[in-house]
Symmetry: C2
Subunit: 347 residues, 2 copies
DNA sequence: TTGTAAGCGTTATCAA
DNA sequence: TTGATAACGCTTACAA
């Protein structure tokens, strides 16, 4: 490969001058600049970023540690990170912890993940990244999961920490659930059941609170019998819907806290010959790809994944730029996607 | 950050010796090794990979250029690449061309993609990657899409080139279609229709050939009226199925060349009150995530995406190791996933 | 077995 | 406006 030294020799100038025209630094006459540029062009010179990085102690690359690329949320978040990074001239060094395949259902085991993460973190730091984004695959508390004496910006997304000083980008679960519930209320529903995720997660609690607040704000009665706790999986949506339908106070609508369980709910209705949405309205959460393929297509809250990526990257850039006012915790809005699983309440 | 120099000073040895214990090179007495290791531990020393890379002219990182991370095939391929890379101690520098969002439906425009790719390629080369994997998002001919005088291993996956000297990892489309067809034949079907993708793609032709050969091998009659050309999208599956069902020689089974069109076929049946699979069997191709959520769940050929990733990375490693016998074109097998959209042919 | 020192391709200081 | 040169943190002859 041709080096600055080669350009300098051929153009009859010093390496310093070549470096200056390359970076627009110093001052160099139009004439020499032109002749240097010409040589650069001819030799098809490409600067060596490694050497540059060593010297300036900046790599213009951001490390991205993702718990699992194959998780439904990861690709779109990475896409968002990428969009912003590209505009800023930054590259991405990707580390995939592969927690699903590696740990199977244990991927929820914080301790193992912690080990994986700190390992990944150390290695990526050695590559001298200028900043780091951690992308979760599960609503997990990642407090102190990675630690370093070298202070580079670290931003968490799709996961949260319990320390106020950490930067995190997430979506507003409370508001999302609130709006989903409101949507059903406005459609005339009064008996709105909830199929929640496991209550050990912040997610579940926040979403439940959103639901609760919508019920209260509309002066409806809160009926605990309508609240069921699932485990985020299809089967639990199915089973709990069956329970709800068998009970005395049967709901006219169900808010499922993710699309998997919503799909399960649809399945349960089908088994019982109930029509969705005529007999029962169902609203999901996440807007997974498959939600357009259920029958009927699912009405659901879309997560602002792409935007979470761009905002995470933006935070990193802001911190890097020394912007003290960078907000620590960003919460982005979900969007209701109206498809065909929810309708007006039956008279 | 602490440097080798610091370790050397504190341990009262030369930097050369420290470097030797770090890399297991040279020969150093157990005693000095121990004392050096101790200092390294105490100081929590982490080597600077950038400096090392500059010196040894190897970065132990592989560039991954992906046409679009959000494409359904990308995440799993990346996961495979990652698995292999991790075992070899390599990192991944990810470039996402974002062709879908950037170009919209024009993402099929080879010329624009070519520009994007060569740009991405140049930048990633400047970062001194040791090798490159190009991940397509669309069955595209990428011949000479990226060129370089610096010869590093380049492996293409989920796309193909027309040059025999290029390395490419793909799945065996011919065999996949052959086996899918055979599956239907074994279930007693004799009138098997095909909903193909656009015939401007190699994919479509190979898959069609696989179908054709299965028909021939089983001495069935080939009926051109049963071959319909769609455009890979849901709607075309729907429309063409309607045509097939309206025709005189009605098929008992449909092989759709992707899951989108297969889902469309199911939709068309539903509209007409036909039962799947009792009245019509449908087999898809790709095994998209949504295929478990259609009603009935789709029987389909699963693409060996993860394995394509690992094999692509393996090729890179092999070439890097100077293994002359590395096979240029790998074709991996698809797997039939039996779900509920195909059954025995009606008597 | 250990140390000295040159060099990887840049940038940046300082002098000319 | 330009050039000589040290330095970034590491590896690696080669010498001791």
């Amino acid at each position: 490969m041709t080096r600055i030294k080669d350009i300098a020799r051929i153009a009859n100038v010093s390496t310093a001058t070549v470096s200056n025209v390359l970076n627009g630094t110093g001052s160099v006459s139009d004439k020499t600049r032109a002749s240097i540029l010409k040589v650069i062009e001819e030799m098809n010179y490409q600067p060596n970023h490694i050497a540059k990085s060593l010297k300036i102690k900046k790599t213009k690359t951001i490390g991205v540690i993702v718990e699992d690329v194959t998780s439904f949320n990861s690709a779109e978040i990475i896409d968002g990170i990428n969009e912003y990074a590209e505009n800023e001239g930054f590259s991405l060094l990707l580390t995939n912890m592969r927690v699903f395949k590696r740990l199977g259902q244990e991927y929820k085991d914080d301790e193992v993940v912690r080990q994986l993460a700190s390992q990944a973190f150390r290695e990526i730091l050695n590559k001298q990244v200028d900043g780091l984004i951690y992308v979760g695959a599960h609503p997990r508390d990642v407090t102190r999961m990675i630690e370093s004496h070298k202070r580079i910006p670290i931003v968490y997304t799709y996961c949260h920490t319990s320390r106020d000083e950490d930067y995190a980008v997430n979506y507003d679960e409370h508001l999302g659930a609130y709006e989903a519930t409101n949507y059903l209320i406005e459609a005339g529903h009064r008996q709105i059941a909830v199929i929640s995720g496991l209550f050990n997660s912040n997610s579940s609690r926040e979403r439940f609170n959103g639901y609760y607040q919508a019920i209260m704000d509309n002066r409806l009665v809160f009926n605990p019998a309508l609240i069921k706790t699932g485990d985020w999986e299809f089967e639990s949506g199915c089973r709990l819907t069956a329970e709800l339908l068998a009970a005395d106070s049967r709901p006219t609508a169900i808010l499922a806290m993710n699309d998997n369980m919503a799909a399960g709910a649809i399945g349960a209705c089908k088994e019982r010959g109930l029509r969705v949405p005529e007999d029962l309205s169902i609203v999901g959460f996440d807007d997974r790809e498959f939600s357009s393929y259920t029958a009927p297509q699912l009405t659901t809250m879309r997560l602002p994944l792409h935007e979470m990526g761009t905002e995470a990257m933006k935070s990193v850039m802001d911190i890097l730029a020394g912007n003290e006012s960078t907000v620590k915790s960003k919460k982005l809005k979900c969007t209701l996607i109206e498809r065909h699983s929810a309708a007006q309440a039956p008279k």
